[in-house]
Symmetry: C2
Amino acid sequence: MTPTPQERRAARHQLAAGAGPSTARRGPSGGRKQPITVEAIIDTALGIVQRDGYEALTMRRLATALETGSSSLYAHVVNKEDLDELLIGRLCAGIDLPEPDPAVWRQQIIGVCTQLRDQYLRYPGISRAAFATAPSHLDTLRITEGMLAILLAGGIEPQAAAWAIDALTLYVNAYSLEVSLVNRRIDRDDDAWVVSRDELLRRFAALPDTFPHTRRYAVELTAGTVHDRFDVSLGMMIDGIARHRPT
Amino acid sequence: MTPTPQERRAARHQLAAGAGPSTARRGPSGGRKQPITVEAIIDTALGIVQRDGYEALTMRRLATALETGSSSLYAHVVNKEDLDELLIGRLCAGIDLPEPDPAVWRQQIIGVCTQLRDQYLRYPGISRAAFATAPSHLDTLRITEGMLAILLAGGIEPQAAAWAIDALTLYVNAYSLEVSLVNRRIDRDDDAWVVSRDELLRRFAALPDTFPHTRRYAVELTAGTVHDRFDVSLGMMIDGIARHRPT
DNA sequence: AGGTAGACACGAACACCGTTCTACACTCGA
DNA sequence: TCGAGTGTAGAACGGTGTTCGTGTCTACCT
């Protein structure tokens, strides 16, 4: 009995009694050499997102790329939200989780966050889907498990570690989304809004007297490369986490 | 000469030579007592978002609520993205910025972030629009200015303060978006996915052996009320920021 | 071999979306 | 009064996610 998309989704969230192993595929393949499968859908969808961004991923666009009709996709995925979840699951599966080492726990946690960031940035805008992923999804729980192991190895207390994972994950999602949106604006050649550092400095200098600090510290407020922001902010967060380590 | 929506937008980003003061309104009002204005559009849009969430805000829905046609909105706003920006601007304008006091800078920065969070949560899902707001928008720059003043008063160095504002703002946006999405799922009566703490504990307990830490610390991972997460995470971040204060 | 149930793919249709375009009506100043 | 500028309206454009009914294929059983 082939599991339906709904059953597969339930299994990902451990709701499953019922989603037995996939049996061999049955049913017509629409005349193409390779029939449509969930894996093909995910691969193709990620290709579209990588090239044209998350907003360009529509069921019709995906179906066209697979040389089928959009309604055929619903034999394999529950709906678009389910597709989002499958995509995020795939990205999470690509994260390498290190063997925790107390001597370098900071580097290790930064490494996992950086990998996650890079996965999201490779697929511009996709981190929007990560916000909506439920906490019971096994692939994202694997990341939670890996981060927890690192933090515990680093001597962080379990409760502090739990909060830390929450905050770090939200930060990575947010950062990735913002960078993707900025890059999308740049791609659109929307000159009025692409604000280079020089231009931003000029605008900050031109602010009225109600903005004394912003004018004075415009250089600091606009400093650094994009990934400086990430590195420093993550470091700050981890400093705050480390503060609660027992000595 | 009445400024066009494009001109008004440019003025918000200090791009404006050109957007002179609004002259008196001219043109027909479609037979209604109150003609359509940008303020009315913003008020009505926020009402829709407050009641039905950000996703429910469509140009057609908004036009219907204003008893007009959707194309009429484009006399007042550039496009939907412009509307988003106007809405975020309105929410930012509602934030009270305290007079900075070195003795209580922590409480003050937490207070601003909490207000911002509460504004976003009052309008479920709207923080998604905040991610897309360009850094030159005067209303959001006012918040930056206020936060900067507080951090400087608290002895944080300018560069560290700048990074801190960036990270805190991203965190608040992300937190608000996630909470909104969870609440939306609850409202949809999507029982399979609304995962109470008890249910999540059950699922964590049922995880396979590859999740030893998650199983062991399921209680910690699921602890606290929603706003505990916010408070603790913010505290952690501020601890990390404070670490760079000169003694 | 024939029949049947289940699985997969298809196209039309539904109910919506953001936006542009053209036409018309109103307002105000000369 | 006239004309330019402004605001509103409806149709249409090009799109979105999804459902529904139908047809075809596949594997299994008799």
